[in-house]
Assembly symmetry: C2
Homo-oligomer: 152 residues x 2
């Protein structure tokens, strides 16, 4: 970030948009730092997470769970495949689908990266204290799940 002089007199800190944006930004930085040793980014770790959950998924199904476009998923899986963390395999029952599965290396990376991410989040929330941190996460979940905020 560039001109970050932060002479702000509290005018902007009262704005929800500013707060959410900067909280997200800072978490992103912390996340990148925590995940760097594993050679993946937060987005890609999320892919590993949904792939590890239950039965194998096609690219489209995985994209749906992540809320990303299927065209975006292509590059995501490309990267993970290059790193040897997942494998594409044509579905036997519907040969249009690419089933994406974790490799052994992928499962290992997932385990360790998830540990690192959890630590990172804990550190990030530490200034709140344990109880408030929990409430904060629950509040976020409520807001994101709220139909009122569901973009019509």
């Amino acid at each position: 970030m560039a001109g970050e002089t932060h002479a702000s007199p509290g005018l902007l800190e009262a704005r929800l948009g500013y707060l959410l944006k900067h909280a997200h930004l800072r978490l992103g930085e912390a996340s990148a730092k925590a995940l760097a040793p594993f050679g993946i980014e937060g987005h890609q770790l999320a892919v590993l997470v949904v792939l590890a959950d239950g039965h194998p998924l096609s690219q489209l199904e995985a994209a749906g769970r992540l809320g990303v476009d299927r065209t975006t998923m292509v590059a995501l899986v490309d990267t993970l495949e290059d790193r040897g963390l997942v494998e594409r395999r044509r579905s036997a029952t519907d040969r249009r689908r690419n089933i994406v599965e974790l490799t052994e290396a992928g499962r290992d990376c997932l385990r360790r990266a998830e540990d690192a991410r959890r630590d990172m989040e804990r550190r990030f929330l530490a200034p709140l204290g344990e109880h408030e941190a929990e409430q904060f996460v629950r509040a976020l979940q409520t807001l994101v799940a709220a139909p009122e905020n569901d973009g019509e």
Copy 2:
């Protein structure tokens, strides 16, 4: 947003990154909708806010307060000037500076748009209840202000 099927089984809702990103997204949508009648966006409203606070600012000073690059500020001020909400004026004491000032229309727009934004934020936070909403905002302020999260 495209493939938004949201079949997510709660796996991602536990991730801070996912939550912050989507909270920010949804607030952005609500904000765009609330501000549409005024012909400005959240970013530009924020510019009006810092300009209205105290003595006139140069573009660079305003950029600093917003935490954006000075090159980004150019387009922001361009738009506001086109709308007749602000005026550029060469500083008499330092002719390198563009002093940016609100016009009468700008002050009026600011007042009404800020009202709309406050209403929008109130509605956005409504699912939390009043007390929790307050705590939530305070928690966000704490996290953003925390030096631990200050990107080294």
